[in-house]
Amino acid sequence: MTVLQIGITAACLLGALWLLVLIARDRRPERWFLTVMAVLELLMLVHLVLGVVRLTGDGADGVATWEYVGYLVGALLVIPAGVIWSSGEPSRGGTAVLLVALLVVPFMFVRLADIWAAGG
């Protein structure tokens, strides 16, 4: 994984841990948490751009381009999709949607690394 991916993964796991605490205590995330997710999404945008740049560079010859791009775009969409889908659901279920979104992101990083390793 790249440095950026490791950083985002750490943030996602910390966020997921916090959401677990909230779910256990039957509380909803406050506004600042949405700000954190917005910052994370900005980082995901940087991640997408860097990923595409990486694909066009040397050493990406055997990498399955479309699968790689698919996961890059998918990873970008997960957090906004989670925020939208959890809004208007003031229950543990809504909070759990955010939790899953944060856990899917690192999983997609692992897939990206697998795809890269299989081709490079």
Partner: protein, 134 residues
Amino acid sequence: MAELSRGFGRLLVFVYGVFALSATGRSTVQLLTKADEAPVPYALSGVAALVYVVATIALATNRRRLALTAVLVELVGVLVVGVTSVLLPEEFADATVWSQFGRGYGFVPLVLPVVGLWWLLRARPSHPEVPRIG
């Protein structure tokens, strides 16, 4: 009567949605770029994608019977493909979502239809959906 996509259902629909999107994307790429390499697994990936899409839409729009059908097909699919991929690994040149009971996805594909079934049967309406008068 609570809708299927409220409360815990919110989470369930999201997980189904993630699988619907990723399975659709994956099988589309597979079928378009290398269908001849492993036709059986890739066709099965396509079927799985379709099942996830139907289940997601049915749960999100509160269509119980359609959701139940999709989840049952999903359960049978993951069990049959899981057993087949373990007994006849040579038939599976490449992995599908359901290979080895979804091991590549942390066995979530195996757990998901069971949870879906539980949710659909648990959240069943306690009285007829069309109230009778008189």
